[in-house]
């Protein structure tokens, strides 16, 4: 039951129309309808929320204003603060970030026989990978193929992705699933071993593999366990605050900061992988976020300052179904799998207003339209929201489906007295994913020699919109690739010499020349949520 009686009343309308709504097969929008919907209602199209960069390699490009402030911010250190001639750590491959991409990279680098090391500002596994609920895509069913997956991903990303990256993503997908399965990840399977797969928004085949609705958690904890089994050093509560270059301008390590003592440390490495994840905690346009505490775009700042180029940093994913109520879980993710299993989106009148499995950008824009221009949202103190009719899942698939397939969702709402098996839930878009990032090639190399990027910090794989289940896939496929290629490169690279942080001053000069006078220090590392009295 909802604590607000009005919501219980409104939920009754949804219940009354459930049978009728369940039998509906809502029409999918035409390409033209989608384009005009996005242009009018998607947050990416709000020009006044973006700033054109006036310094760095992406000068002239627009990015979200909060990101621009950090990209054009000042370093947290100056070159005088550290002694680069006496590194505290010496390794072949330095991996910055302990999420799915970082852990995958570490395992592959270790497998290749080089010395790998992970540094992470929180703990290994404190990452968006851990929170990915719904699933991971791979075209491994007989009615599917990597080519069909390619078309879905490329089209869903508005034909903007780098084709060679999409090719890598889809062609290595089945192998990624096999790799995880062989590590012991428990995928949902039939008794004969057939993968239980569902649709995601914008998929044309049912290729969403899952481990209940803890898919990312199951993958992440298994990867973490494997990293520890292999004895790969993990330095936790230690953030990278600057990339170090060598005398030739190649990446050669990073300056690290102990998050608790603030001590600065130097890590020297032959190759460096940025796997720092996303940016939800920058709360673009005031949106709540489904992201973990450390999602502050650090890797983009680190890479940008040494000259790595960004691609599609102006496109963000607002997950259509963030929690709209209650306040304790406001903005938390309600997995797309809820819709994959048959729940529909319903307005205040109990009417289905769209096909529930359009791509995420289209679905988010449609919900925003329903709550604004159409005036059909449900109002609470937290804002406007629409219903996601979860009881429809059991109405269609039978009792017990929710507990078996989406236990995390049942638990999350159950803690606040809402039984999603019996009551619909309120949802509204939440800041979920950074579609763009540091531009990479299929081997995860960036424009800076010996600097690699993988996972959410990388850009170009998903174009301007990512499909559900392609990010867990991306962190595995490109995380592994980063480890493989960074290890190979490390093998043919000598111990770097002439370590320098000159780029800091160079960048400061560029800021000054552009007339940018700022007090902002970056990378941000953690959001500032403590109330100042």
């Amino acid at each position: 039951m909802y604590k607000i009686e009005k919501l219980n009343e409104l939920a009754k309308i949804v219940a009354e129309k459930r049978a009728e709504n369940a039998s509906l097969e809502p029409r999918r929008m035409t390409a033209e309808e989608k384009d005009s919907l996005l242009a009018e209602f998607h947050p990416d199209y709000k020009q006044n929320e973006f700033t054109v960069l006036s310094a760095g390699v992406n000068k002239g490009d627009k990015v979200p204003t909060q990101l621009a402030e950090l990209l054009q911010g000042k370093s947290r250190i100056s070159s005088k603060d550290v002694d680069l001639s006496a590194p505290d750590y010496d390794t072949d491959v330095l991996i910055i970030g302990g999420g799915g991409a970082g852990a995958s990279a570490a395992i592959e680098a270790d497998q290749a026989g080089v010395k790998a090391m992970i540094v992470t500002k929180l703990r290994i596994g404190d990452a968006n990978t851990m929170m990915a609920e719904g699933g991971i895509q791979a075209a491994d069913k007989p009615n599917d193929s990597p080519a069909i997956h390619y078309l879905d991903a490329f089209g869903g990303g508005h034909f903007a992705a780098k084709p060679e990256l999409v090719n890598t993503l889809v062609s290595k997908a089945p192998e990624a699933i096999k790799w995880l399965n062989d590590l012991g990840v428990e995928f949902d399977k039939e008794a004969d071993g057939t993968m239980i797969t569902t649709h995601g928004g914008g998929t044309s085949r049912k290729r969403m593999h899952a481990a209940k609705d803890y898919t990312g958690a199951e993958i992440m904890r298994t990867l973490r366990d494997e990293v520890l089994n292999r004895g790969i050093p993990v330095v936790d509560f230690t953030a990278a605050v600057e990339i170090i270059l060598d005398s030739s301008g190649n990446a050669a390590g990073a300056v690290l900061m102990n998050m608790e003592t603030k001590e600065l440390l130097v890590a020297r490495a032959k190759t460096v992988i940025i796997a720092t994840g996303g940016a939800g905690r920058l709360h673009y346009q005031g949106f709540p976020t489904s992201n973990h505490y450390g999602a502050t775009a650090d890797g983009l700042i680190l890479g940008y300052r040494v000259g790595a180029k960004l691609l599609y940093a102006d496109t963000l994913q607002y997950h259509p179904t963030g929690t709209g109520y209650p306040e304790q879980i406001f903005g938390a993710l309600v997995t797309e799998k809820v819709r994959s299993l048959g729940a529909k989106l319903v307005n205040i009148d109990g009417d289905v207003f769209m096909h529930p499995l359009e791509t995420r950008d289209v679905t988010a824009a449609s919900i925003i339209r329903e709550c604004t221009a159409n005036g059909k949202g449900i109002e609470t103190d937290l804002g406007s929201a629409v219903w996601l009719d979860t009881p429809m899942i059991e109405y269609k698939n039978g009792e017990g489906t929710i507990e078996k397939r989406i236990p995390a969702m049942m638990r999350m709402f159950g803690k606040y007295g809402i039984d999603i098996r019996k009551e619909p839930i309120l949802v509204y878009p939440t800041l979920h994913y950074q579609n763009g990032g540091l531009e990479i090639n299929p081997d995860c190399s960036t424009g800076v020699e010996n600097l690699y990027a993988a996972g959410e910090a990388a850009g170009g794989i998903h174009g301007r919109n990512r499909l559900m289940g392609n990010s867990l896939l991306d962190v595995i496929v490109f995380g592994r690739n980063a480890g493989i290629y960074a290890a190979a490169k490390a093998k043919e690279t000598a111990v770097p010499e002439g370590l320098t942080l000159e780029h800091i001053e160079r960048f400061n000069n560029e800021l000054a020349a552009a007339g940018l006078d700022t007090d902002v220090q970056s990378p941000m590392l953690l959001p500032k949520y403590a109330r100042k009295s």
């Binding site: 929170m131 009615n143 209650p326």
Partner: protein, 224 residues
Amino acid sequence: MENKVNVFLFGKKYQVPAGLTIMTAMEYAGYELVRGCGCRNGFCGACATIYRIKDKQELHACLACQTEVQEGMYVATLPFFPLVKKIYDINEIKPTEQIMMQLYPEIYCCIGCNACTKVCTQELSVMQYIAHAQRGEYDKCAELSFDCVMCGVCSSRCPAGISHPQVAMLARRLNGKYIAPDCAHLEERVKEINDGMYNELIEKLMQKPVEEIKELYNTREIEK
């Protein structure tokens, strides 16, 4: 006027708005969290917390990000707990009863007090999954422990010194790799890709002009 409650963070009293979680209450009180805060969404287990309500006997455990503050709540976070994780090679071990005896023999010292189950922040049947692990029933151990976020509160209460989350982790990997049925269509597809069966098809797609690929995309057949 805003409804406030009194909470005691590490014994010190603060007035915070009702409706906050323990985590947001700490931030409201002015704490800048580094430890004890991860996904803020109930999946990572970073914010294990124990609490007791003033004048009540029972000790509770929870995740700070998933629990609403209550009047008279005495809170202590448990941002780290020294679990024992044993090292093994997943390709070398087998899902036999002996493997638990070798790696985690302390599970056989369980005295059946059920303290682990009582405090589980995910309300799992912890003692029961340990019982399955003792008997080498790794599929059952995996199933019952699946929602574990490895926060470690169970182990903090265990008189036998068991690291339950690590035992369950091993059981799940054994189950996923060795006990769950193999997937034939996955093996088949990996082989087809390695044989280069889809290269030409994808090459063609990659080279198509945008207008052509748009047409293909917009008219593609969608499985019901």
